[in-house]
Amino acid sequence: MLKNIIRKIFPDRQKETNKLEAQKLKWLVRAVMTTRPDEIGCEECFQELDRFVEIQLAGKDAAEAMPLVQDHLDRCRVCKEEFEALMVALRALA
């Protein structure tokens, strides 16, 4: 409700706050220019994630062993967040 009032009084301000911040814009540009045709999606990454984390926990280079999973984690904020939480849990339980 308040946002609608502000939008009507300050239409240009609304336009400006709609713009992406620099960091997100840089992220977009990088994401576009490094797009790979063989990227895997969230589901495939999830299927492989238990194997990926165990390689990582064994002190080996999971990114080298499973590069498409690493690539997806580098691109997908939500999958990365879940991966990091899973690592925290497994390290604590070890």
């Binding site: 946002k3 609304q14 336009k15 709609n18 713009k19 992406l20 620099a22 997100k24 814009l25 840089k26 992220w27 977009l28 540009v29 990088r30 994401a31 576009v32 220019m33 490094t34 797009t35 045709p37 990227e39 999606g41 969230c42 589901e43 495939e44 999830f46 994630l49 238990d50 194997r51 984390v53 165990e54 997908c76 904020r77 939500v78 967040e81 879940e82 939480a85 899973l86 925290v88 849990a89 497994l90 604590a92 339980l93």
Partner: protein
């Protein structure tokens, strides 16, 4: 708590109704609650009852999907993975439940208005700024020309911070399908950028550091 091999876990959990099943189920529940406690330890809004609920929901998915366990990791690692996914999905749903897609995508469909003309970075020189402006102009135009309305809307919402699964929910699709939709969008933009003579190296060096 008894240590089990993967085979023992699968065998115990595949036979509901016998004593071994009940013991294995309770052991799994305890393991998952403990794991989720660590996984979500940096979040102040998670209660013990939440951990129990997430573990229970995860157990239902685990039991339903027992046949999909491929044995490429420990069973408990696989189970923790599912529990973490369940927990984060619900926490994101709660966090974003009052935010509509319209609020995240306030520019008109397809107008790429969310791409600014420049980064307004006082630390870069005029040559780098000119390069950035040219690239951003190109990107804005290509977004208008190449992306479908759905891709434009999803891209905006995700860039502005809405989790992929939450955008997908509002678009009546799933996270995986939406990732592929955005992948297609990026591929189209990349191809057009390259067709217009902008190499990956040129573009990325213009926006470094």
């Amino acid at each position: 708590m008894v240590e089990r091999s993967n085979e023992q876990w699968i065998a115990a959990l595949s036979q509901p109704g016998n004593d071994e099943y009940d013991v294995a189920l309770e052991d799994l529940r305890a393991i998952l609650v403990r794991g989720l406690g660590y996984a979500l330890s940096d979040r102040s809004n998670v209660r013990d009852t939440d951990l129990a609920d997430f573990a229970q929901d995860a157990i239902l998915k685990i039991l339903k999907g027992l046949h999909t366990f491929r044995g490429e990791s420990r069973f408990t690692t696989w189970a923790h993975k599912i529990a973490v996914r369940v927990a984060f999905t619900e926490l994101r749903r709660r966090r974003w439940r009052d935010v509509s897609l319209d609020e995240m995508t306030e520019s008109k469909e397809g107008d790429a208005d969310f791409i600014p003309e420049s980064l307004a970075d006082p630390s870069i020189g005029p040559e780098q700024e000119a390069m950035q402006r040219a690239i951003l102009d190109t990107l804005r135009r290509l977004i208008r020309e190449e992306l479908t309305d759905k891709q434009h809307q999803a891209m905006q919402a995700v860039l502005k911070g809405m989790p992929l699964g939450e955008v997908a929910r509002r678009m009546d699709t799933n996270r995986n399908a939406l990732y592929k939709l955005l992948h297609d969008a990026r591929q189209r933009l990349q191809k057009r950028m390259l067709d217009e003579g902008l190499s990956a190296q040129d573009v990325m060096s213009a926006f470094e550091p």
